[in-house]
């Protein structure tokens, strides 16, 4: 287990380094820099700005300062509220630096404000996806070939085929305008979360339903299910105790990609429902040339996806005693 985690960590470090250096190089290769083209500045002011963001340093030094863990920037803290004596700094210490666009805010401030919102949205979406997907998949598998199965499979194919913003617009018309049950946009209460969460989770519910159905059918055709019936167990017990665990194993391994997908989908959903989450900040930063924010979110989400994938792999071993992580 420990060896597995260490190996994961090593690959993770490599991945992160690649992501950081590629995006850092791209960001600094842009002609004119992030502050060009907005307002023509007096040379001295421009120099001031460059100095404030350390853009006057050689690029390797900027990179080292950005990555960390040593703080090379004795000035940094002075305009961000620190006292300038920090020894540690940079991404490795969880410090993404100042935002280029939101003056007087660090990327950490912005992420700190918006991430809980996005995380909550993601959790709601995942809950929708799992509850709908697993129950539809089981129902479909148990009624294989029946009308319910056909209807659920059609719905799942539709859910996979239609992008979430199309589904969102239909649902907004339905539940906000025609049958005014839910608020149209904003954030704060449970009602605000239901619809965005649902729209975000639906695609994954469809995939999960498919996976559950296939998994359950596979398991239900196994010999040990017949053994369980031969023991005299009731069908409900057989399905819940013997079949379900094996049937949802594919779903568990899908949770990693699903998390990445939900993070992606949140970009669109947050924009449609005007939710002030990390996703909308990211899209804004991309169009605003707020490179530090864009990079910070990219790195953060890489860490999140990687970490959650590892958690999913660990969870898998708990469910399936046959998996041995050491010899992966």
């Amino acid at each position: 287990m420990l060896r597995f985690l260490l190996r994961r960590l090593l690959w993770f470090a490599i991945t992160l380094l690649v992501v950081m250096s590629v995006s850092f190089t791209l960001m600094h290769s842009v002609k004119g820099g992030p502050f060009d083209n907005e307002r023509t500045l007096h040379p001295s002011i421009e120099a001031n700005i460059k100095a404030r963001y350390n853009l006057d340093w050689p690029i390797w030094r900027q990179f080292l300062d950005y990555v960390g863990p040593l703080n090379l920037n004795e000035k940094r803290a002075t305009f961000l509220g620190g006292d300038g004596s920090d020894v540690w700094g940079g991404v490795m210490t969880g410090d993404f630096g100042p935002s280029y666009r939101y003056r007087d805010f660090t990327v950490n401030d912005i992420i700190g404000q918006s991430l809980p919102i996005s995380a909550l949205l993601g959790v709601v979406a995942m809950m929708w996806a799992l509850s709908l997907g697993v129950s539809a998949g089981i129902a479909s598998a148990l009624r294989r070939g029946g009308k319910l199965d056909l209807a659920l499979r059609l719905a799942a194919t539709g859910g996979i085929a239609l992008p979430n913003f199309v589904i969102a617009s239909f649902l907004i018309i339905l539940f906000v305008f025609w049958i005014p049950l839910l608020p149209v946009a904003g954030w704060g209460t449970l009602q605000h979360m239901l619809l965005p969460g649902f729209c975000l989770g639906l695609v994954f519910a469809a995939y999960i339903a498919r996976l559950t159905r296939t998994g359950m059918l596979e398991v239900l055709s196994q010999d040990y299910i017949r053994t369980a019936y031969a023991k005299g167990l009731a069908p409900r017990t057989v399905i819940l105790r013997h079949a379900l665990k094996g049937g949802i194993l594919p779903v568990v391994s899908y949770l990693g990609p699903a998390t990445a997908g939900i993070l992606t989908g949140s970009l669109v959903i947050e924009r449609i429902f005007f939710i002030p989450g990390t996703g909308s900040h990211f899209v804004n930063s991309a169009t605003n040339r707020d490179y530090t924010l864009a990079m910070g979110v990219t790195i953060l989400y890489t860490v999140l996806v990687y970490g959650l994938n590892t958690v999913v792999d660990l969870a898998y071993t708990l469910l399936d005693p046959r998996i041995d992580l050491e010899n992966e």
Partner: protein
């Protein structure tokens, strides 16, 4: 029994020949025949294939279809509901020419009539002469005109839009005249409250600048100059490109700048920013671009509308920049259908643009982008995977590790980042290398969607390399090329096709997703993503413009659904091992 067996072992020559002949007659069913038969048996997949073929063909031929213009700007402010071809003729109660009222004449699909070009004429005249002006223009052009008026401090500006058909297209003569000069432009900053506006000033020594324009996105512009040549005043048209320093972020610029002589000092030098960038003009000369303007001026002169003056004529194209092929198709359309076009059968969007035309043009863009990106991912993925699989060993290990690393990166974020960075170089790329945004777009998408393809191809090659039937083929003496062509390629190809049909919808979704976020296809061009943004922005509590949501969703949904169903069907047909597994 023994005797019979003995005879079996010693075949006569004649019998041997007969057997050989018979064995030649035995033909196994090829993989493709078998797959096609299976696919045809799978009704859902088969009809998906038919639908996709028809829809794809329609989308490809969109420039040929007699549709209204997909980008026309009108004076309309509200989306019009579907105007079914079998529905009743539409009538409008309000036909008066009240300033600011609805367009005067809205027969049929007035707004988009003139799929190729339209002209907007601006008059300065008292409010009372509105009807007379409209009557004048309509009589002159023999077309119904849209009308709108704006009042600025007691003075009325009247705007009339008339469709121009193929015959009205201005004929531009691009022959060089030898007239050359420089264009000078600078920005002037003016602060109003918190907002900063920039005025772009243009001056040239070529002659009197009558009109100029610049397209914000491309920084390309047109300059109309009237100058004396050979004793006569003629109009010249120049094209130019502004440097980076002049046109900044589009929303920062107010582009109806003032025209000044080059030595004008009314703007102090201190307030000029990015002073005096010299702009290269690409010399183009034209005959007077259309005689409409002249005809209107003449008509005005002879009419009793003494106080009315023609402030300007603006000609709009019904399309964005089309490629050579599309231009050809549009010309063919003109020959086939003349000026006839369909009505707004599926309604219009908030800008009055025909929804059906936009959906079809949008499908075209989305499908083309998806196909090109898929091709891109296919090439990268197959080459990478095949190389890795064939090489094997350490190289294979390393290459697959790279794929693993890339897999664990949330790619969409990197791509968005990449696209914003690439956008900074867009003008340069377009001007210097002729690479436009769509190309960049599908190269970037293709460059990230090759991972699965590489894995699949590598796995297939690896298992084929060690499979017994390849061994068997080698044992019976088949040549390497024969093994490659008749065993490896078909086996890899089948799985590649299966993944291809699953990649295309994924890329379509991704394109729509990026366009939705404003990072993909940009207006005035249209794709499913931009259609979705428009629809979602138009929907509100008071008016549910259902057609804006429903029809694009139908086009998108049915295409994606068909692709998914076809992909599943192909997988069942081509890869028997996966059959029955959903």
């Amino acid at each position: 029994m023994a005797t019979r067996q003995g005879r079996d072992h010693e075949l006569s020559d004649e019998e041997m020949r007969r057997l050989l002949k018979e064995s030649k007659g035995i033909k196994g069913e090829s993989l493709w025949n078998d797959a096609w038969r299976r696919l045809r048996k799978n009704r859902a997949s088969f009809w998906s294939l038919v639908f996709l073929a028809l829809f794809g063909l329609t989308s490809f031929l969109v420039p040929l279809l007699p549709l209204p213009s997909p980008k026309a700007l009108t004076l309309q402010i509200e989306p019009a509901p579907p105007d079914w071809p079998w529905g009743p003729e539409r009538t409008y109660e309000d036909e008066s020419y009240e300033p600011g009222a609805r367009p005067s004449v809205e027969k049929g699909s007035f707004a988009n009539n003139g799929w190729r070009h339209r002209a907007t004429l601006e008059f300065t005249a008292p409010a009372a002469s509105a009807e007379a002006i409209v009557a004048l223009v309509e009589a002159l052009t023999n077309r119904s005109a849209a009308y709108e008026a704006r009042e600025v401090s007691g003075e009325y500006s009247h705007f009339l839009t008339v469709p121009l058909h193929r015959d009205d297209v201005p004929r531009v003569d691009y022959s060089p005249t030898g007239v050359e000069g420089t264009l000078t432009a600078w920005r002037v900053e003016a602060e109003e409250g918190d907002e900063v506006h920039y005025d772009l000033k243009v001056a040239t020594e070529l002659g009197t600048v009558t009109r100029w324009s610049v397209e914000q996105r491309t920084r390309r512009g047109k300059l109309y100059v009237s100058a004396e040549k050979d004793g006569a005043t003629r109009s010249y048209q120049y094209e130019y490109t502004l440097g980076r320093n002049i046109a900044g972020k589009p929303r920062m610029l107010t582009l109806n700048g003032t025209l000044l002589p080059i030595d004008d000092d009314s703007v102090p030098r201190s307030r000029r920013k990015h002073d005096l960038q010299t702009v290269e003009t690409r010399e183009r000369i034209s005959e007077p671009h259309t005689d409409l303007e002249a005809r209107v001026r003449t008509a005005l002169g002879t009419s009793d509308l003494g106080a009315a003056t023609l402030a300007g004529v603006q000609i709009e194209n019904g399309y964005w920049d089309l490629g050579a092929l599309d231009e050809g198709l549009v010309h063919l359309r003109g020959r086939l259908f003349g000026s006839w076009q369909t009505g707004n059968w599926l309604g219009t969007d908030p800008k009055g643009q025909d929804l059906m035309a936009r959906i079809l043009w949008g499908s075209r863009t989305s499908i083309l982008v998806a196909l090109a990106a898929t091709l891109c991912s296919l090439v990268i993925g197959v080459l990478y995977g095949a190389f890795s699989g064939l090489k094997g060993g350490r190289i294979d290990n390393l290459m697959m590790r790279v794929v693993d690393i890339l897999y664990s990166v949330p790619f969409i974020f990197v791509v968005i980042f990449l696209i914003t960075v690439v956008n900074e170089y867009r003008t340069e790329l377009e001007d210097v290398y002729g690479i436009d945004r769509e190309v960049i777009f599908f190269v970037v998408i293709g460059a990230i969607y090759w991972l699965t393809m590489a894995r699949v191809v590598r796995g297939q090659v690896l298992s084929l390399k060690n499979s017994e039937f390849i061994e068997a083929a080698r044992v019976i003496g088949a040549s390497t090329s024969r093994i490659l062509l008749s065993h490896i390629v078909p086996n890899v190809l089948s799985i590649v096709i299966v993944y291809l049909t699953l990649t295309i919808p994924a890329i379509m979704l991704f394109e729509a997703f990026l366009s939705f976020l404003g990072l993909g296809i940009e207006p005035p061009k249209v794709s499913w993503g931009t259609l979705a943004v428009e629809s979602i922005e138009a929907v509100n509590r008071v008016h549910v413009y259902w057609w804006l949501v429903l029809f694009p969703a139908l086009a998108m949904g049915s295409t994606l659904l068909a692709l998914n169903v076809l992909g599943d069907g192909l997988r069942d047909a081509l890869d028997p091992r996966l059959r029955g597994k959903d």
